[in-house]
Amino acid sequence: MDEPPCREEPPACEEEEDMSLSNVVGLSLCDSAPLLWRVQDLKTVRFQGLVGALLGSLPRTPRQNGRLGRPLLLLPEEERLLSEHQAAAALPASNQDGVGEEICQWVEKYREEQQRSFAEQSVLALEDRKSALLQAMTSSHTGSHAGLGTSAKALQGRLEALDRSFSFPRSAMAVQLSTVRAGLTYCPKDRAFLQADWPIRAQYNPHCDIRYQVFRDLSGRGFYLTSAGKFGGDFLVYPGDPLRFHAHFIAVCLSLDEAVSLLDLLSVARLGSNVKKTVLLCSPGPDGGVRYTSLQWSGMV
């Protein structure tokens, strides 16, 4: 099993400072759910073995559910792991809530950029058209050597005509619908404000605590975990990146002293065997470790 690097290191070490800073991911809350937006942050958490769940439409082909795009929703356990490692920070708030002059400046800047983009794109469009014309003319005339001179002249004429007549309509300008809030690029200084100060949001529920301890342990062992609601468990446990591997286990988190009804136990075990996965009963022990128990049907015939 791959042991993903930089997991267990205490993040406070002096020499790690630089490294951990670049590993700080920017979280933002949407309706109290922790979301990651920046590609770099998504890569960072994946590198640490955290999978999360993509929620948005994929820009390339938005009208399908097979593959989704940003934002990435973190499990509460993933969020807590990041904040305990001081690897999470709040993304800066929008600067569109500012007032008066500040906003005017941004608007001014935005308009300038749009204008510049339009100018550049019209140059590019003209060049594009020219090269297309050039290619069409030369390819159609390569066969006839005789008309080479005249065709060159004709080409010149066509190009000049194109220069004069070409207009790039504003509606043809390509614009970007940004995924991430643009504020940061307008103000690179904001990066300095990104402090790894993401609070550990209170989870009073004892079951949440058990889940977290199991998550931390399994994730520390290099497993990739995702939510297993539809399998009737707490986590799906993958031996490697879920992009390439199937899940092997369904983790069900229980406290050690919790009585389990036999029917519940049998139903999860039966479910697990139906989807070709092993059900793991995971209970954090008093020593800080986690006890794993699997249930197997032994066919005595």
């Binding site: 309706d31 390339r60 935005y110 970007q176 940004s178 591997f245």
Partner: protein, 519 residues
């Protein structure tokens, strides 16, 4: 598009803004999604596996990092109005207008979830304070408990991406169970009004916690009244003009039903009250307050001794405040035929004969015990039964056999009759339950194939209705399920359970146990 994948250098670390040349180049990029290969079972540290993983990851990141780039001409421009929690279109709407949005005061609006979905699809550019909102801004600004929660939006987006038409569920626009029971045509006028909302009446939030917003709406309503006073005055006659006689009729029908509905509830409670009294009520009505055996009625026709003056009746028998004095009956007696009836001997004999032969019903002791007509009928039935061999002692008490053996019915019906615990359906008794805040229907969902001729003003019956919850929430109890079912009528309620990225759909359905009886 290899150059689009950002390198991790300092300068571009936070930049996901494309340069003009990148934008220009993106116009001709592919729209294909790379297919995912077969997954491996177990990581084995082989180079081959590592390479495949790397390739998958590269594809993944290039997909994820891709930015939306659209031609300005293909984008609909809109502005976010935070106070209304709506998005106002600034340029003509696209094809999406057929299934989304609403107009008010001659302007076109989108609900926040619709706007966000269209932003994600690359159809809409939303501005706020003259600056474009990013997708992130959209999520953070549009989704809240006042509009649509993130989980609800996940379900909304999931269904929209599958092609369904999804509208917010508005309980007030649904016909009441009573109207549904009578199968009344739904007032089209009402739906129309809902669609053409006044700007002030902000769309109903799917969540109820919106006190602050309500405050602001009332404020705005007042404001609006000031602005559109003239319009408001003009509106009613105009709407009368546009309603066809048919809809007018429908409307009167609905108003009359509401009247009847009021009457009906009054009536049923009355019945219930009667039922409640039932057992002790009937005997009191059976035995009158007046004991006629002790009240003497004067016989004016008798030729016996009768004084010409009648004493005044007992005042306790008279209605209050009515005083009756002594009554002189002599004048009355003069008007009555007091002659003795003389019968011929033949007639006398016949009378005698008749009297002897006739069995006088009134002499029957059991009949005398009957206090009213119903009891007499009962008595007759009982006697009939005895004659036909039904063991009377089983039937003359409160508890009677479930089936009368003289009645011939098919086996299936008989089984049904003798089943002591009846099966019930979801809707039974649901109308009597009080509403709860815990479970609410969020969306009406219409099937994708209806999109072509879908009309927002007359969407018809939804394919299903959606409730949204998460795996952390409790399972809805029978009461909640009954409530949802009664709210939804004959449209199935689907519960969308959101588990982070995954959405599973569940339905509670009535199940009729099969009966293996064929008559």
């Amino acid at each position: 598009m290899a150059d689009q994948n950002k390198t991790d250098t300092e300068g571009t670390f936070f930049s996901e803004i494309l340069s003009p040349s990148e934008l220009f180049a993106a116009r001709s990029r592919s729209h294909k999604i790379p297919v995912r290969g077969q997954k491996d079972f177990f990581p084995n540290d082989s180079d081959e596996q590592r390479q495949r993983l790397e390739q998958s990851l590269n594809e993944h990141w290039s997909l994820i990092s891709e930015e939306r780039v659209e031609r300005l001409g293909n984008l609909v421009r809109a502005t976010w109005i935070p106070s209304d929690q709506t998005v106002e279109l600034q340029s003509p709407a696209g094809k999406f207008w057929q299934t989304m949005g609403f107009s008010a005061d001659g302007k076109q609006y989108l609900l926040p979830e619709e706007a966000l979905y269209l932003m994600e699809c690359g159809n809409l550019q939303v501005f706020y304070k003259d600056l474009p909102l990013s997708i992130q801004d959209g999520y953070e600004r549009f989704l809240s408990s006042n509009t649509v929660r993130l989980q609800q939006y996940q379900v909304f987006g999931h269904l929209k991406r599958l092609g369904y038409v999804v509208h917010r569920f508005d309980p007030s626009s649904e016909p009441s169970p009573y109207v549904r029971q009578l199968n009344l045509p739904q007032s089209r006028d009402r739906a129309g009004r809902q669609l053409k909302r006044k700007r002030s009446a902000s769309p109903t939030p799917t969540c109820s916690h919106s006190e602050a917003q309500e405050e602001s709406t009332t404020e705005r309503m007042e404001e609006d009244k000031g602005n559109h006073d003239g319009e408001e005055n003009k509106k009613p006659p105009e709407s009368h003009l546009t309603t066809s006689p048919e809809t007018a009729q429908v409307q009167t029908a609905t108003t009359s039903t509401t009247d009847e509905g009021g009457g009906r509830t009054w009536w049923t409670t009355d019945v219930l009250r009667d039922l409640g009294k039932g057992s002790d009520h009937s005997p009191t009505s059976g035995s009158s307050r007046w004991d006629f055996s002790s009240i003497s009625f004067p016989d004016l026709g008798s030729r016996g001794q009768l004084s010409s003056r009648l004493a005044s009746p007992d005042p306790s028998l008279l209605p209050g405040a009515l005083a009756v004095g002594v009554c002189d009956v002599a004048s009355w007696r003069q008007r009555i035929n007091l002659r003795e009836v003389r019968l011929s001997s033949k007639e006398q004999r016949r009378e005698e004969d008749k009297r002897r032969r006739r069995w006088d019903v009134n002499k029957d002791k059991e009949v005398q015990r009957c206090r009213n007509w119903a009891e007499y009928q009962e008595l007759l039935a009982r006697r009939q039964g005895r004659r036909k061999g039904r063991p009377a002692h089983l039937w003359n008490r409160e508890v009677t056999p479930l089936h009368d053996p003289r009645q011939l019915i098919p086996t299936g019906e008989l089984l049904d009759k003798i089943s002591v615990i009846k099966s019930t359906n979801l809707l039974e008794g649901a109308s009597r339950l009080k509403g709860s805040d815990e479970w609410k229907i969020c969306f009406n969902v219409y099937q994708p194939d209806s999109v072509a001729d879908f009309k927002k003003s007359n969407p018809g019956k939804p394919y299903s209705r959606m409730c949204v919850c998460s795996f952390n929430d409790p399972v809805p109890d029978l009461r909640a399920i009954k409530l949802l079912a009664s709210q939804s009528g004959d449209v199935p309620v689907v519960i969308a359970v959101v588990d982070h990225g995954d959405i599973s759909f569940y339905t509670f359905k009535d199940f009729q146990l099969p009966k293996d009886v064929y008559p």
